[in-house]
Symmetry: C4
Amino acid sequence: MKETTIVEKERVETESATLIEGLPGLGMIGKIATEYLVKQLGARRIAELYSPHFAYYVLVNKQGSIRLLRSVLHYWKNEKGRNDLIMLTGDSQAQTIEGQYEVAGAILDFAQAKNVKLVVTIGGFRKEVEDEPQILVSATNPVILHKALEAGAKGSPSGNPIVGTAGLLVGLAKLRKMDAICLLVETSGYLSDPRAAKAVLNLLGKMLELDVDLLGLDKEILKSERIEERMKRIEEQRKISAEKRRKMEEEKVSYIS
Amino acid sequence: MKETTIVEKERVETESATLIEGLPGLGMIGKIATEYLVKQLGARRIAELYSPHFAYYVLVNKQGSIRLLRSVLHYWKNEKGRNDLIMLTGDSQAQTIEGQYEVAGAILDFAQAKNVKLVVTIGGFRKEVEDEPQILVSATNPVILHKALEAGAKGSPSGNPIVGTAGLLVGLAKLRKMDAICLLVETSGYLSDPRAAKAVLNLLGKMLELDVDLLGLDKEILKSERIEERMKRIEEQRKISAEKRRKMEEEKVSYIS
Amino acid sequence: MKETTIVEKERVETESATLIEGLPGLGMIGKIATEYLVKQLGARRIAELYSPHFAYYVLVNKQGSIRLLRSVLHYWKNEKGRNDLIMLTGDSQAQTIEGQYEVAGAILDFAQAKNVKLVVTIGGFRKEVEDEPQILVSATNPVILHKALEAGAKGSPSGNPIVGTAGLLVGLAKLRKMDAICLLVETSGYLSDPRAAKAVLNLLGKMLELDVDLLGLDKEILKSERIEERMKRIEEQRKISAEKRRKMEEEKVSYIS
Amino acid sequence: MKETTIVEKERVETESATLIEGLPGLGMIGKIATEYLVKQLGARRIAELYSPHFAYYVLVNKQGSIRLLRSVLHYWKNEKGRNDLIMLTGDSQAQTIEGQYEVAGAILDFAQAKNVKLVVTIGGFRKEVEDEPQILVSATNPVILHKALEAGAKGSPSGNPIVGTAGLLVGLAKLRKMDAICLLVETSGYLSDPRAAKAVLNLLGKMLELDVDLLGLDKEILKSERIEERMKRIEEQRKISAEKRRKMEEEKVSYIS
């Protein structure tokens, strides 16, 4: 394989669609959100994306079946006559600079062939979060930006680089005169962060007038909070021990000198 | 040279063939097994694969002759009317991500031109092995998988990434709707592991109904066991010395403080 | 995106033009100088250059707008009938060897299509500078070189490699039989160096008979000098502390032994 | 520039030629030998090779002129009716694996267009050399190999990888059914080694029946021997100091404990 390739499983025609991208990244927010959306909407898998710029290993699933690293594209027909959804998630991002650009370009080629009018990308933004994580938005034009701000997002700080597919898709969409928006959710980012995923889905629901039940994420949030607490305790314990050790060393040194 | 290139030495036509891949990797299992099979069957060298993605050095042989790094393809006509064999082994794997995908793609192009119906790849799986090494199997579809399980293999644990050509060939074969299977033999992996190679050939013999005498590998196994034992003794000695040194340090420290 | 691409915003025709390149580099001299020139001349933005060899992130500006990394090309019509100017600056240089060559080639393609007769590149040369920074010049031919020497530049020391776009543009221009010159300004290089930028603009003004007011740079120079002084004081303080610490350690050691 | 490119300065036609390659490498042997040969024969510069796989900087010469990294090809008409010579040397080798293969391929394309019948590559082989450095030879076929052995070379040890252009040119020549030979001269390799260059030119003179005066290299040899001696003395001094320091440390430690 020499080029990024999208294999269509089911040929769908759309008059107007929104593309939502959620690949693995900080806190796995985009991936968790997109996968949840796919499940809740009962979206159909329509295509798979393969690339020689992904890592060169394959994955084994429970049935002993093998597959290449890939992205998957799901389609949901919006019966209310508004934009259909195409949702992209996957195993990983491209491993080289040139690969990142090539993969993002291939996604946009597909999006344009499916009449995508708006590209939404989801990522994480590292920050110690106290209460509700805020969502930082940036976009290809002020109209879309305004829509996200109205729905509760906050303007992204300027000078802030957005790394990887979530950023490149929006940057390349602009060159093609496509509307696009990037939503970065605040996250401590060490672990899977379903709370951040819920926050961004909540915002997306308002922006795109989707009616999606988000309660299913609460169990995940509870689980991740427990893990977080346990890790905090371990970390505190570690700090105390380190402090003790440091003091003992000091005493030893002063004893010698 | 700008692309991976396969140079045919002898043009063979096959109606139906199985491709067996065994490139260098953990424990050199695939390479040992494939080379032994080629020798025992008296297979003919039909092609060589060269790639600008291999390392950029050449090898010198005993007669002072020089050659590029390469893979070699051997052909064995199955007189019993079952699948012919095409066996691929070589010096090394591609050195870059994109190279790995390109080389695997070139191998499959060749395989398809030769009517290959099944691709078998051989690799190692690092594990401390007590008795007989087990063989972990994963495949493009349940039918082939079942055949290997029946012959004595065990299902590969899920989530397990298979790195390099052994994995990519199977993953890419699936995209092309070719049947393929990956056999990973347990190995401690530090040394050449002819015992693991014998185990996989034994399994392959059953699966493909081949009649190959494996006794020739026993001498290699004996040799490698001796090396292994010697290395174990060295390692134990090293541990004992390290332990002694540690104790002496401790005593010195407690003496000071 | 698979290739470096120049997107024209406004189609201009020139009979004869000079290209001035000032990308980020040591002391940001080329970027500061080119941006100042663009502003003073009121030059029009005519094109943007994008490349899959730039880093794979996007930038967010104050209005929450996103954009890819890029270079920008400005055009200034020279009403005095002499060479028009095309000025190139941007966010960054290409990240790989092959990318550097490809981007430089794309810039020269554009330059040739616009009848560029002379390419001028600006960079920095690390040196502790006391008074006025000197400008080191090298060129594709003695005639252009002489012109720069007459305007006050000094010959570049031989054996000196010029790294990145400032060097490659001139080297590749020579292959295409285009005249080109590289101006390296001495700079301590740690910070933005507007003083060096002013020096090179002064020289360029003489060489190209431009009438540009450089007083606007003085405020920047003052600011950078203050920062420099503050950093010097911090560095001196740091050295004194380090020296003290070293002495204390010595005394401790001699006390033990 | 997107591909390795050879720019012809003078179009020569040859009926039969030998290509001698001597790029920078261990001990600079190939470069010294080839440049000396070019000078002694008064060979004409006929072409230059440029590549986007060379490092991305340019060089400045004494006259303030700039140029890209490159290889140069010289031509010498053999008036005795034997093979003409084409000699290649240059600034550096390609920086990536794929670049190494591409550059070597471009050189062979040129060689074939000029009816080159034999490719000779020169490199170094790291070894502590006492008296005369030996020359290790490997080749694409036994006939050429024999010719070099007769002229005084020694067979190259098997298993020995030959890295870079000197190896790849011979390996790729073999694929094209061109005769080729690689001469590796023993060298300590830290410095320029004109003695090794003289040895290989002496051998080449015999093999190719060239009549070249090698006395001009003796001054270089004398100079390099002096440098070597000085460095040996510095190294010895360094060892003695290190030993002293080690002893003092030991004494201090035993004093504490």
